[in-house]
């Protein structure tokens, strides 16, 4: 059928089926901005277009509906070499993170401001209400609107973004601590080819997965012959033809401290949505149709859904495969292997970390300092409580996706991954080739938040290409994101706290029970971070904890921003709040009395490793908690009268607070490398191993290189995350980006600086001590100056010293801990149980914020995700272990309508010695305190303790005894 419409002002006629999806059509026509986050469910607005002047989701339209109508996409805003007022304002305000949904934001804001140049906050909110911004949580978009309004009148308007940064962090630095445009923002905002989906060629095969309808079952019959026979089907993959290799989906440094318990396909189904078989076909439609032809029968087993069921006597066993060890096998291994069921496959431990698969235990840990009995004996009051967390999902707007193809005998993987090197290592192992035959190219990521630290699509996509020689594209649906990717571990924590009457803590004892679900990726390290990221926030000489991680049949868990932090901190902060109430001490005073101080030795942390114990006891070498708590109390109005309305006695107002911490990479385990080379005209190219997942690492690297080499940022180009071209880097996790990858780049720049100075000194005929770098890109001696361009020209000449390149490798035995706090005010409706966030103030000490405006965006984003898991987000199951709410809306993903009324992020400086120019991590930490801050505010409001995330209206009403 022939359909005519106007597209970005030009007439178009297309010959297509009228039922064809408009988003698919527009992408095929090359309009990358029309992305899709939820397969046409209408939540995310990644596919926003204007249809006859109003914003709608392209995925929810069919081409027939376009007839005679006018379509405008975000590409209409693009002028080559320029940015529009709205585009530049979004970048300047720091609102662009991954950039996946930002073209849509630019489109609706431009439309709004054209209609109404004076649009107020409510109108902006309404315009943006259909667009999901998981990363930046909207707040800076409002700043961008104000900048854009000015720029529409005066295009030269210079944005004054958060000028207080410069005051606080000005340490005589040119770039660090000062706002500058995110280096990749223009590309993503203009929807140039940037994400994996933008590189899929028209002839790529599509991979679709048949998933288990049961949470726990064996495949008793699998017949793929009809699917294989279908024209257009290239291959069907299943346990019958998959390599017999076991690995962990967790992208961690080897040897991984996670059981190697997953095969590409197994005969045992361990969760709702586990892989049964995959079809690789010429088109997505053929692949879908072929999936329906696969005949499969199951022997259904009883599912385990929580840790108590997993630990129960006679519980079904999730992993009954053959157990083996690389080193340190337990003496009773033969006994453990007595009841192997071959259908369960195998399970391998690189080294022992407490796993006992026949007890459904994936990992165990423990640690203690002091004398716990003595500590409790000294206490006047002892409280014992159980706290629980539920299962939250990262919800990156871009789902997991991967494109693989062969180049000669080499496999190329275009991936949206946080860990390119771990992907290369693992894929080479799975498909059985050497690592030089695998090339991983990390493209821009449309959000990761930890979920893209796990290898969940690259494995099967690579195998499909390696098996067939074909280009293969595998993209998760949003439902698959919910049922078949890594989510947040679920925890149950028994905690006991002893304190003297004056509030001094004397002893803390915790039993952490974690639910890792079907596979044990991060089964040791996530739970180990529960104590590590919470207990050292308070001074206490007698501490003891135990960790047990259980297998179960919930959908997979893994890495999610904050790691074990949000869970552990919920228990620690809540029991402290409960103790304060018990002792009649103000909650903030209780925190102040016991909190960690700068310089404190963190003895307990000497006892918690991530597969390996730290070589020295860490200390809180920089910590701005004092300033944070003072500032938070001031902005929230702690202790001031509450504005309760006497005509609404059912609305109670309460305030709460919680502190938080994180680390900045893992000492003695992680490593990052980088090189910086001087190009022929004196500009710089940095190859960084670091994987920018949208949070701004490439910008950090650019600024650090610029700072060291005193060069214009525009003269520095960063290439990152490409395993052929860059040097090894552990990847983007454990909050290591700025500290590790940043420091590696800084070291490389310093190495190059030394070389430049040496050559310059020779050329100037002066001793090297006498010459120095001056801005821009020049060496100054006492007799004259020489530019980088002149130095490069000499170096590359026939009599030169050779091209100059600096190399940096960063490892450290030290930790750099960021600290922070959330201050919260809530209104609780005691008749309905609804909780309204009146104020949410997040304060954070990230040392020196390298990109202050992007740092704020990290804090806002982390806060809204944490508000999500605290209040509305939760994966829900039926009794059979099937997920019943596998879409954004039903799952409870916060959108613009869920923002706190008064939402603030602030940075408080500290002086750190480990990170580059004192920069500590900023992103992950922000999720660790929302739940206890909100729960303690609810208690302050209406006197009930809610000891379980997520806090729904129903749970509040129940706690109030009204149900």
């Amino acid at each position: 059928m022939s359909i005519s419409f106007t597209l970005n002002g030009a007439p178009r006629t297309v010959q297509v089926e009228p039922g064809k999806n408009v988003q698919t059509l527009l992408r095929e026509l090359g309009f990358n901005s029309v992305r899709d986050s939820d397969d046409g469910w209408g939540f995310a607005g990644s596919d926003t277009i204007l249809l006859d002047g109003v914003a709608v989701n392209a995925t929810m339209l069919i081409v027939g509906q376009l007839e005679d109508r006018e379509v405008v996409t975000a590409e209409s805003l693009n002028v080559y070499g320029q940015l529009s007022a709205v585009q530049s304002a979004l970048i300047d305000a720091g609102a662009v993170q991954s950039g996946y949904n930002d073209p849509a934001v630019a489109l609706v804001l431009t439309d709004l401001l054209q209609r109404n140049p004076a649009a107020d906050r409510a109108e902006v909110t309404d315009a943006l209400s259909g667009i999901f911004l998981r990363e930046s949580a909207y707040e800076q978009v409002f700043t961008a609107v104000e900048i854009a309004k000015e720029r529409m009148v005066n295009p030269e308007h210079v944005a004054d973004v958060n000028p207080e940064f410069n005051k606080v962090f000005d340490r005589d630095m040119r770039f660090v601590g000062k706002a500058s445009r995110k280096v990749d923002a223009t590309r993503t905002l203009k929807a140039e080819k940037a994400f994996v989906e933008d590189f899929v060629p028209a002839d790529a095969c599509h991979l679709k997965m048949l998933r288990s309808p049961h949470a726990h079952a064996y495949i008793s019959k699998l017949d793929t012959s009809k699917a294989e026979a279908m024209p257009g089907v290239v291959a069907v993959l299943s346990y019958k033809n998959a390599p017999d290799v076991y690995y962990t989906p967790g992208g961690q440094t080897a040897p991984e401290p996670s059981p190697l318990d997953r095969r590409l396909f197994g005969q045992k189904m361990r969760h709702f949505g586990d892989r049964v078989a995959a079809v690789v076909a010429e088109t997505p439609e053929i692949a879908e149709a072929a999936l329906k032809l696969i005949e499969v029968e199951f022997e259904v087993l009883k599912p385990i859904l929580d840790v108590d069921e997993a630990a129960a006597e006679g519980a079904p066993i999730v992993h009954k495969g053959l157990i083996s060890y690389s080193a340190g096998a337990p003496d009773d291994l033969d006994e453990q292997n007595a009841d192997v069921d071959p259908r369960d496959g195998r399970i391998h431990f690189n080294f022992p970390f407490g796993g006992e698969p026949r007890k459904n235990i994936a990992a165990k840990g423990h640690g203690s300092i002091g004398d716990i009995d003595k500590g409790f004996a000294e206490a006047d009051v002892i409280l014992e409580r159980t706290y629980e967390s539920k299962q939250a999902q990262q919800c990156p707007p871009e789902p997991h996706l991967c494109l693989t193809y062969m180049e000669g005998d080499r496999l190329v993987i275009r991936a949206a991954t946080q860990v390119p090197w771990h992907v290369r290592r693992q894929i080479a192992n799975i498909i059985g080739v050497k690592q030089n035959k695998v090339h991983v190219i990390k493209e821009r990521l449309g959000g990761g938040f930890g979920s893209k630290q796990d290898i969940l699509v690259e494995d099967v996509c690579s195998f499909a290409t390696h098996l067939t020689g074909r280009t293969v594209y595998f993209r998760h649906t949003r439902e698959e994101e919910f049922i078949a990717t890594s989510s947040r571990h679920v925890a149950k924590m028994d905690i006991k706290l002893g304190a003297r009457k004056d509030g001094t803590i004397t002893a803390i004892e915790v039993d952490y029970r974690f639910n890792t679900g079907p596979y044990g990726n991060h089964a040791l390290t996530v739970p180990s971070n529960a104590p590590a990221l919470s207990l050292p926030l308070y001074r206490c000489e007698n501490v003891k904890f135990e960790i047990t991680t259980y297998y179960s049949n919930i959908v997979p868990t893994g890495a999610y921003q904050g790691y074990g932090g949000p869970k552990g901190n919920f228990a620690m902060q809540m029991i402290l709040a409960e103790m304060a109430a018990e002792l009649g001490i103000d909650h903030l005073d209780m925190i102040q009395k016991n909190r960690v101080h700068e310089g404190d030795e963190l003895t307990l942390l000497g006892k918690v490793g991530e597969g390996k114990m730290p070589s020295k006891i860490p200390s809180a070498s920089s910590c701005a908690l004092e300033g944070i708590l003072d500032r938070g109390a001031e902005t929230l109005g702690w202790g001031t009268p509450k504005a309760e309305d006497p005509t609404k006695p059912h609305i109670k107002i309460g305030r709460g607070v919680a502190t938080m911490k994180q680390k900045s990479g893992i000492a003695d385990i992680d490593q990052a490398n980088a090189t910086v080379k001087l190009t022929s005209d004196g500009t710089l190219i940095c190859h960084s191993g670091g994987a920018d997942l949208g949070a701004g690492l490439d910008t950090v690297v650019t600024k650090l290189v610029g700072e060291v080499l005193l060069s214009e940022l525009n003269d520095i180009h960063v290439i990152s995350g490409d395993t052929d071209h860059c040097l090894f880097d552990k990847g983007a996790y454990a909050s290591s980006g700025t500290c590790f990858s940043g420091n590696a780049a800084k070291l490389a720049a310093e190495d190059l600086r030394d070389q430049i100075l040496k050559v310059a000194a020779e050329r100037l005929g002066e001793p090297v001590e006498q010459v120095e770098l001056v801005f821009p890109a020049t060496v100054k001696g006492q007799t004259g100056t020489i530019s980088f361009a002149e130095i490069a020209h000499f170096a590359e000449s026939g009599t030169g010293c050779g091209m100059l390149q600096g190399k940096g490798c960063f490892t450290t035995p030290e930790f750099a801990f960021p600290y922070g706090a959330n201050f919260v005010e809530v209104a609780v409706d005691t008749e309905t149980g609804e909780v309204e966030l009146l104020k949410f103030h997040a304060l954070l000490d990230c040392g020196t914020p390298i990109n202050p405006e992007l740092a704020l965006g990290q804090v806002y984003g982390a806060s809204i995700r944490a508000i999500g898991h605290s209040l509305s987000e939760c994966i829900k199951y039926d009794e059979e272990g099937r997920v019943v709410n596998a879409n954004f809306a039903d799952y409870g993903t916060p959108s613009l309508g869920d923002l706190p009324k008064d939402f603030r992020a602030e940075l408080v400086a500290s002086n750190d010695q480990i990170g580059p120019y004192g920069g500590k991590s900023v992103s992950e930490i922000g999720v660790n305190a929302a739940a206890p801050a909100i729960a303690s505010a609810i208690h302050d409001a209406c006197g009930v303790w809610i000891r379980e995330w997520n806090i729904t209206p129903e749970k509040v009403l129940r706690a109030l005894g009204r149900l």
Partner: protein
């Protein structure tokens, strides 16, 4: 899979096409439900209502007459729509969806958790079908056959129309949504969604409130009548018990907003 797509320009053509294709054909309005990724429907033929001119909004005989193809956002932007009615449509948080969803489609979609329906039902809205027959929105929702809606008529002379929804997050379907209307003749309309397969009208509660001005002493009785009139379901959003308890609270508050409950007793 859509095999046929039509854009008839007259009602007669539209009805003829529907007759020709029977159950294999569906009316296409905004398409926000029909084209939705998850929504599997049997239709292989779509008949667009686009060209039928069902796009008017006008006040006539004390009522607001709304063409079936008017979108929820157009209603919010129209000067003819009362502020209270605008608030009903604005409950759908997502503007992109409001731009696409038509009022006819919204009603015909017959979603039991729809937060717009209680407002329409409480207000006493009617639909006018292709054969000129008129049904209350509530009757239409109950009917098996979702006949073609041409227009929706909402009384415009209400004394008050108040709404409230309870939800886990702004863009989620509500746990429950309620609306209470006080009509020109001082009769009442009370409706809820989220508590049953279809939105429900609470006639017993309407009668109780209508007997006389509600006094404080009757609050508990009203809450009980509300709870008794619904048989809420439990789902992942909330338990039946919660819905039952909170429905009463919400309805009482809305009644109070429409006509302050006498606190003198």
């Amino acid at each position: 899979m859509i095999n046929n797509y039509y854009r008839p320009e007259t009602l007669a053509d539209a009805l003829a096409l529907k007759k020709q294709h029977g159950d294999e054909a569906a009316w296409l309005a905004g398409g926000s439900r029909l084209n939705r990724g998850s929504f599997e429907h049997a239709a292989t033929t779509l008949i667009s209502l686009e060209k039928l001119g069902l796009k008017g909004i006008e006040v006539k005989d004390g009522s607001l007459e709304i063409g079936a193809m008017v979108t929820l956002q157009q209603l919010i932007e129209s000067t003819e729509t009362s502020e209270e009615l605008k608030a009903v449509f604005a409950q759908i948080f997502n503007r992109n969806i409001r731009n696409q969803s038509t009022l006819g489609g919204e009603i015909a979609a017959a979603n039991g958790r729809c937060e717009v329906m209680p407002g329409l039902i409480a207000a006493g809205a009617h639909v006018v079908l292709a054969d000129d027959s008129v049904f209350s929105v509530e009757e239409y929702l109950q009917a098996e056959d979702k006949a073609l809606i041409l227009k929706v008529v909402v009384p415009a002379n209400l004394k008050a129309l108040k709404i409230r929804k309870i939800t886990n997050s702004a863009a989620a379907e509500p746990i429950l949504a309620a609306a209470v209307a006080r009509k020109a003749d001082d009769t009442w309309g009370i409706a809820l969604s989220g508590v049953a397969e279809k939105p429900v009208r609470l006639r017993d509660a309407e009668a109780l409130v209508g007997e006389s001005q509600l006094a404080e002493g009757k609050i508990e009785q009203l809450q009980k009548v509300v709870s008794d009139s619904i048989k809420p379901v439990s789902d992942f959003r909330a338990s039946a018990e919660y819905r039952s308890s909170v429905s009463g609270v919400v309805v009482v508050r809305l009644v109070d907003e429409c006509a302050p409950i006498s606190k003198s007793q």
